[in-house]
């Protein structure tokens, strides 16, 4: 492998890693208040990509307006999923695993709808105005301003969330995650905060899809793969930790892109999984995961 190919692979890995990181962060955000997340999140990301192609390429919307509209839709979808597929079950039995079925049902619904309506185009979306996907040489690497902008933006998301979790309501969400019963006794509005978290998760998930469109065209078969990549990013970094999600996502993206070049594209998930297992063996709760101190 030549030096320039190495750098090229690295840049590609980091770019896709940013998408995984953002998908992972969206899972974290949903997971935090109630301890459950959306198994349809992969399809939510995918839907974001497809809507971007439709709004921007086919309907000719302004890039930012399209992205904003899609995020709003994602928020509505996330909130609706929680309202329809999670809350009725949790009201009956909070320890129930039924949320796995219901969010999987949502994922079936989305995948079928997407499969039926979207025939797949090779259309890609250009980078947002101000950035470009055309590459320039930096050292011996070919890099685009979009790659740099993407990485910078994705790194800003945890910082923004950090501030969000330090507001009054953000603090309440952290209280729910720490000790649900105690938080409920203090009058924390769990339902409202869960709804808001799921809206935010939906919006971030769709945004991950939107940001992926300048990199590659949407592939309707990849719903679960995106979910798994996002989740692996989170599991590597430590469930609930957004900085960890970025590190995990970038690591995962790079491992995949090197495996695809060096071994065989079919084995890129295998390589990612092996790296995950190694990290798991060293740190069972992920890089930033806190150990559980008291169980009894």
């Amino acid at each position: 492998m030549t030096w320039s190919l190495f750098l090229q692979t690295l840049v590609g890995g980091i770019a896709i890693g940013c998408i995984y990181a953002l998908a992972g962060i969206s899972i974290n955000v949903m997971y935090r208040p109630g301890g459950y997340f959306n198994f349809a999140q992969g399809y939510v990301v995918l839907l974001g990509s497809i809507l971007m192609v439709v709004l921007f390429t086919e309907w000719g919307w302004n890039w930012y307006a399209a992205a904003l509209a899609i995020m709003v839709l994602g928020g509505i979808l996330g909130g609706a999923t929680e309202l329809v597929a999670i809350r009725p079950i949790m009201r009956r039995r909070s320890s129930s695993v039924a949320w796995v079925i219901t969010t999987l049902a949502v994922s079936l619904l989305l995948s079928n709808e997407i499969g039926a309506r979207y025939q797949g185009t090779s259309a890609t979306v250009s980078a947002p105005p101000g950035l470009s996907t055309s590459t320039f040489t930096l050292g011996s690497a070919l890099i685009s301003s979009y790659d740099i902008g993407l990485l910078a933006f994705v790194c800003l998301v945890p910082a923004a969330l950090w501030f969000l979790y330090r507001t009054r309501h953000g603090l309440a969400v952290r209280a729910l995650a720490e000790d649900r019963d105690a938080a409920l006794l203090r009058g924390v509005p769990a339902n409202a905060l869960t709804s808001i978290s799921w809206m935010l998760g939906g919006a971030l998930g769709m945004l991950a899809g939107v940001l992926d469109t300048p990199l590659s065209s949407p592939d309707v078969t990849l719903g679960f793969t995106i979910l798994i990549s996002g989740f692996l990013a989170v599991a590597i970094g430590g469930l609930g930790d957004n900085r960890g999600a970025i590190i995990g996502g970038l690591l995962l993206g790079c491992v995949q892109s090197f495996a695809a070049i060096e071994i065989n594209p079919s084995y890129q998930n295998v390589a990612a999984f092996i790296v995950f297992l190694i990290i798991l063996a060293l740190r069972p709760r992920g890089i930033f995961g806190a150990p559980v101190l008291r169980e009894v």
């Binding site: 459950y36 997340f37 329809v84 597929a85 009725p88 079950i89 009956r92 039995r93 129930s96 695993v97 039924a98 796995v100 079925i101 219901t102 999987l104 049902a105 949502v106 994922s107 079936l108 619904l109 995948s111 079928n112 709808e113 039926a116 078969t221 679960f224 793969t225 979910l227 798994i228 989740f231 692996l232 599991a235 469930l239 065989n264 079919s266 084995y267 890129q268 998930n269 295998v270 999984f273 995950f276 297992l277 798991l280 063996a281 069972p284 101190l293 169980e295 009894v296």
Partner: protein, 624 residues
């Protein structure tokens, strides 16, 4: 005594089984080749899902990669028949074996992961298997898969599709029968303990990691078989057949059918296979209706289709029971399985059964980060004695208990049980040595009846050979009756024998405590650790508890009793250990310690002047 034959046939279960049997025969009678095909596919799904029911329904482990085990079975059959010319029948055993190996590999991350993480990781495993199937052109034919897999032939004759359907029905019912026997075995009970509380399982000496791998391995057998039959039925295999949606489908099959119910996989497979067939008339709305129905079923019927049947049965039983005398029908539950169902039970020879062991802790310390929970604590407990451990909230009592039982490892110091150093051993290993415990908040298997909750205590003593359990050999049936009788004897001794068939989740708090103590006694402990057994009990219940502890002590078991109820400690303990802020401040006979000025200042305050029976609240409050 078994209920009369007619009554059993006319029971709800009998009617359900009859209906299911009739439904299975419909394709054969109609002789419609399409119906036979649908029936065969349903049977294959059900067969594949039986194993998943063991992993998730019994063991509580979420697997969203079960379809990859079916894929492994299918590809083994395909490769052996197409590339090596084997007959299909000869490939069945290799297919099952390969699926078992794959299942074991898939289960390995489960040893270190929480439940939801495992769910996604098994999904990733399925993705990886798919990657291999796609990637290896030479062996698996890559994306196109393999074609030309022969049908099942028997001594040179190709079997008709109807006979293959029949064979699959037999295999499916055999798998259901075996899964029922696993459910009722000591192994199955251990899995349920893991599902409901891994801490309880460990405290009873169940090797949790091993048992999880075991459940996955078993689940590979029917999955591999289903894969092999499917490959032969379709004549081709391709990676697209076994994508993640297939694994997800199998998981939905058991949840829709009834998670942990024996017939769940069949009902779920019927639902998942028939629903789309029925919905074809709705054309483009088919999939939306399908997904919406899944949602509705999950929300309205959280226990699945089999759960509806169980609910009706429970309702009918309550109707009938309302006229029944609440006799301690001790024999009833036993008679189902065993030769004898006596209403009276032989007393256990306590002196023969229980042998107390000594305990010593030396310079034991435990830090949580910068917090010194326990600092250089040393004391000894003589074999067969009762030691009360008191101290304010947050003084380190539960931490100490957790270190003795092995849930925490000490930062420094030694723990000697029966003269041997047990530091570093897992909780389950220590439980197998004879360290039993109860929990501050009772932890029971809420969905199981009281008798099972008690019998599970004996897990570490029971037969492990699953082959004997699969056929319910007389030796394991006798053993089962033996432990059930012992359980009833203990329940009777503690005055709650008539509750034996209640779901543990429905019991009162006091009864839950008693069941937990009885469960611990079933494991034949040599040292019993009781963590605040009197908390939440009324006066009458505390008196019962006192008698129970006295009975345990008479049996010769060493007892360490963590308590705030000083009167109780005074009445049952031989010695007292007092902790305050992680430090041992007093240790000695009951009278000496309770009049010790340091103890009075640190903990008791002026309680002594208020007389017996008062509960002492710690001077400083902490989270415990």
């Amino acid at each position: 005594m078994r209920p009369p034959l007619l009554g059993r046939v006319l029971s709800l279960r009998g009617i359900g089984a009859f209906g299911l049997g009739c439904l299975c025969l419909v394709p054969l009678v109609s002789n419609d080749s399409y119906l036979v095909y649908v029936g065969t596919l349903t049977a294959i799904y059900a067969l594949a899902a039986v194993g998943l029911n063991i992993v998730h329904g019994f063991g509580g482990q979420i697997s969203l990669g079960h379809g990859s085990l079916v894929a492994v079975g299918a590809y083994v059959t395909a490769i052996l028949t197409v590339s090596h010319g084997w007959p299909v029948i000869a490939t069945l055993v290799p297919a099952m074996a390969a699926a078992v190996v794959a299942a074991i590999v898939m289960s390995l991350p489960s040893l270190r992961l929480s439940r939801w993480t495992l769910a996604v990781i098994t999904m990733a495993f399925a993705l990886i298997v798919e990657g291999f199937l796609n990637g290896d052109q030479g062996l698996t034919g890559g994306g196109n898969g393999l074609v030309g897999i022969p049908g099942v032939d028997f001594s040179g004759r190709q079997l008709t599709s109807s006979s293959i359907y029949l064979i699959l029905l037999v295999l499916m019912f055999l798998a259901l029968f075996f899964s029922r026997n696993i459910r009722r075995s000591s192994q199955g009970l251990a899995l349920i303990a893991i599902r409901d509380s891994e801490l309880v399982a460990q405290s009873l000496g169940i090797g949790v990691p091993r048992k999880k791998v075991w459940a996955f391995a078993i689940s590979g057998i029917p999955a591999g078989l289903a894969g092999a039959m499917w490959a032969s039925l379709g004549g081709t295999v391709s990676p697209g057949q076994f994508d993640i949606s297939f694994s997800v489908l199998l998981f939905l099959v058991i949840l829709i059918g009834g998670d942990g119910r024996i017939v769940g996989p069949v009902l779920g497979a019927l639902m998942m296979e028939l629903l789309p067939q029925i919905l074809t008339s709705f054309q483009q709305y088919q999939l939306i209706i399908y997904a919406a129905l899944l949602l509705i079923i999950a929300i309205l019927v959280p226990d699945g289709l089999a759960g509806i049947g169980v609910g009706i049965a429970g309702y009918l039983r309550r109707l009938r029971a309302s006229g029944r005398t609440p006799a301690p029908a001790a024999g009833k539950g036993l008679a189902e399985d065993g030769p004898a169902g006596p209403a009276t039970h032989p007393e256990i020879d306590l002196a023969e059964t229980y042998h107390g062991a000594s305990l010593a802790v030396a310079d034991l310390s435990r830090y949580f980060g910068g917090v010194r929970a326990l600092s250089r604590v040393s004391f000894q407990v003589a074999a067969g004695s009762v030691v009360g451990m008191i101290g304010p909230n947050g003084s380190g009592k539960t931490t100490l208990l957790n270190m003795i039982s092995g849930l925490y490892q000490p930062t420094a110091g030694q723990i000697l049980f029966d003269g041997e150093v047990v530091n570093g051993e897992r909780a389950s290993a220590r439980a197998r040595r004879g360290i039993g415990r109860t929990f501050q908040i009772p932890r029971l298997l809420d969905r199981e009846d009281v008798l099972s909750n008690v019998v599970v205590g004996a897990s570490r003593l029971r037969h492990r050979s699953i082959l004997l359990w699969l056929v319910r050999a007389p030796v394991v049936r006798r053993e089962e009756v033996f432990y059930r009788q012992e359980a009833l004897a203990w329940l009777g001794r503690f005055g709650i024998a008539d509750l034996w068939d209640r779901p543990a989740g429905d019991l009162s708090h006091g009864d839950k405590r008693t069941v937990e103590i009885v469960r611990a006694m079933m494991s034949r402990p040599r040292l019993l650790l009781l963590d605040e057994p009197s908390s939440g009990l009324g006066t009458e219940e505390v008196n019962r508890l006192q008698q129970a502890i006295a009975a345990i002590a008479r049996a010769g078991v060493t007892v360490v009793l963590v308590e705030h109820h000083i009167a109780l400690v005074r009445r049952v303990a031989d010695e007292i250990v007092v902790l305050d802020q992680g430090v041992l401040i007093a240790n000695g006979s009951v009278q000496d310690v309770l009049t010790n000025q340091t103890v009075v200042d640190a903990y008791l305050g002026n309680v002594m002047s208020r007389g017996e029976g008062d509960r002492v609240a710690g001077p400083q409050t902490g989270t415990e």
